[in-house]
Amino acid sequence: MIIETIVFYVFAVVTVAAGVMVVVSRNPVHSVLFLILAFFSSAGLFVLMGAEFLAMVLIIVYVGAVAVLFLFVVMMLDINFSELRAGFFQYLPVGGVVGVILLAELILVFASGAADITLPKTVASPTPPADVVSNTEALGNILYTRYAYLFQAAGLVLLVAMIGAIVLTHRRRVGVRRQRIADQVARDPKDVIELKDVKPGEGASWKSD
């Protein structure tokens, strides 16, 4: 129990610290690396909660794909990040005041007891006990049965996104030499190779017909 608590605090502190570093570090590449660290530590938090599937998805999808994509964008596009961040200190007072007011309001609401937050006990899809059904299996069980309709519909949304990307960006380039495999296979040596009988000392001349 005590070990679990220690691990939780280690991961939690690392997550928050990495999150802060993402925002404040000057070098955008460092920002992305800290983002990856934040993802890894939140995955650790998920494992602690017994949600191993979410942890794996977080690492595979966010670290494996999204963060690496970010890294590519940061390194390949010449974006001046310090210029983007130029107004930071200028807007800090106003933003800070708004944030403090919001915080005060939230504290007021909860302190006054108007919003006595006790969450409902019934949930749409209760999580089965982890020692009977594993997380992944439980998710798969409802994703492909009860929510099959939504699963398919989400597939349609992705298809539309793909069509959109092609419609809006794809341009057929002119003058591109493509490989035509059929033409290559159909070529016959007889049409393209000519054997010449070269007499010694004369050389060969080739004339196209």
Binding site: D116, T122, A153, L168
Partner: protein, 486 residues
């Protein structure tokens, strides 16, 4: 292994058919190329007609499918029919424009088909997740359609603006949904309704949490129907998007989003009527006022139609504010008539060409009565109808919503509605004056094309003769509204 209780796939047959048809047409387009655009457009319209028949012949009583994620009832049948008519007619109307303006790419009809699938899913949504996914499928297709002329700066601008603001509203929607789920423990509409009726599980705090969620959902849906104060995107998107796409925006998605709004407010949040009624009242009055006042200064006909559509949404919301079956009946009748009128008006706008170039200025219509009397007459009919002048159809739309508002004791709302329609009449009638009493500008091209003439004649006849035989619409709307009040 969890068994799916009550899959009932047949209830979603039109959606499944349309989605499959869209996928097949996409494949045909990919292999045949852009020269198949016209054929694909006609096939898409045919697929929508087939889906329309499937919607009509489906059993009328309420049925849920996919374990309660999906619902069909008389209301969904009526709204789906409207959406399918609107979408297929705009597809046909756009044929000439798409060919002339170099937009003839096969993705165009396919995207409209996918948007229609999304709209049908929205209308039949019975769960917060189903609502969100349907809405996203529709919106994503619309963003792409708005930017479809990617080489035109204004079209790209329209698409980008619509996308950024639409993503923001989706964020609001998700935030609201998560609040509602957090405080009710359910995403299913019936379960949410039960939780709201019992005051939320968490005693007094439940309703406050649910209420915050409800406000966020209302904001997102108000954005989708372009009601004030979430209307900022409408004029720019309407002006920038290619005209057939604008016509589509005005005809179909607005009706689907409105249907969704009705179902969400009258279904799971029925018990909170006193709370959301205030929101709807404000949104309705603000939309009517802005629609009437801001349209006066416009010089571009598409921008004018955008402000006009904002105003019309305000009038339709008057019926919802009443919160009674009569009010909902009024909303449904209003939407039906609005769809017919805007299809007609947009077929006129699509016919505005001078020497082969599309023109969009209102002043280009000057003297149209002398150069093309038939088109001028039908445009005048639509304008008078939108202004709400009897005995044209638009008058009856307003009549039924205002009657419902007065029955519900919302006298102030009805008075504001009548006042703003008088103000709004100014800019509609200004167009009529321009066409009939001003010196002709450069004449518009003739002929306007077979498909536009047919749509113009059909919608014109419905608008003029609605008063003679309104019974089918009235009975249909009555039954549809009744099915929302079990």
């Amino acid at each position: 292994m969890t068994e799916l209780a009550n899959p009932n796939y047949l209830a979603a047959l039109p959606e499944m058919f349309l989605a499959a048809a869209a996928a097949v047409l996409l494949m045909i387009g990919v292999f045949v190329g852009n020269r198949s655009t016209t054929a694909l457009t006609l096939l898409s319209a045919l697929a929508m007609a087939a889906a329309f028949i499937m919607v009509l012949v489906a059993p009328d009583e309420r049925a849920t499918a996919f374990g309660g994620l999906f619902v069909t009832d008389t209301f969904s049948t009526f709204m789906k029919c409207l959406v399918l008519i609107g979408a297929s007619v705009t597809l046909i109307m756009g044929l000439g424009y798409v060919k002339r303006e170099g937009m003839a790419r096969f993705e165009f009809p396919v995207l409209i088909l996918f948007a229609s699938v999304g709209m049908l899913m929205m209308i039949s949504a019975n769960d917060l997740i189903a609502l969100y996914i349907g809405l996203e499928l529709q919106s994503l297709s619309l963003y792409i359609l708005a930017a479809f002329r990617r080489d035109a700066v204004r079209s790209s601008e329209a698409g980008l603006k619509y996308f950024v603001l639409g993503a923001l509203s989706s964020g609001f929607l998700l935030y609201g949904c998560s609040m509602v789920y957090g405080f009710t423990g359910a995403t299913n509409f019936e379960a949410i309704a039960a939780a709201v009726a019992s005051g939320g599980e968490a005693g007094a705090a439940g309703p406050i949490g649910i209420l915050i969620g409800l406000v966020f959902i209302a904001v997102a849906l108000a954005f989708k129907i372009s009601a004030v104060p979430f209307h900022m995107w409408t004029p720019d998107v309407y002006e920038g998007a290619p005209t057939p796409v604008t016509a589509f925006f005005a005809a179909a998605p607005k009706i689907a989003a409105m249907a969704l709004l009705l179902r969400v407010f009258l279904g799971p949040f029925q018990e909170l009527v006193e709370q959301w009624e205030q929101i709807i009242l404000f949104v309705s009055i603000a939309s009517m006022a802005l629609g009437a006042l801001a349209a006066i200064g416009q010089t571009n006909i598409k921008r004018l139609m955008a402000y006009s559509s904002i105003g019309h949404v305000g009038y339709a919301l008057v019926g919802l504010a009443a919160g009674t079956p009569e009010g909902v009946r009024g909303v449904i009748i209003y939407l039906t008539i609005y769809m017919v009128m805007s299809l007609g008006a947009f077929s006129c706008i699509l016919a505005m060409r001078q020497k082969g170039q599309m023109v969009e200025q209102i002043s280009d219509l000057a003297g149209l009565s002398k150069t093309n009397p038939l088109m001028a007459f039908s445009f005048a009919v639509f304008m008078f109808s939108m202004a709400g002048i009897p005995p044209l159809a638009g008058f009856f739309g307003k009549l039924y919503v205002f009657l419902a508002a007065i029955d519900a004791g919302l006298y102030g709302l009805a008075i504001v509605g009548v006042l703003t329609s008088v103000v709004g009449a100014f800019y509609y009638i200004r167009i009529v004056k321009l066409m009939y009493f001003d010196e002709p500008a450069a004449p518009l091209d003739r002929p306007i094309g077979v498909e536009l003439s047919v749509v113009l004649a059909g919608t014109g006849i419905v608008t003029v003769l609605f008063f003679a035989y309104p019974t089918p619409v009235l009975i249909g709307a009555q039954a549809a509204a009744a099915s929302l009040f079990p």
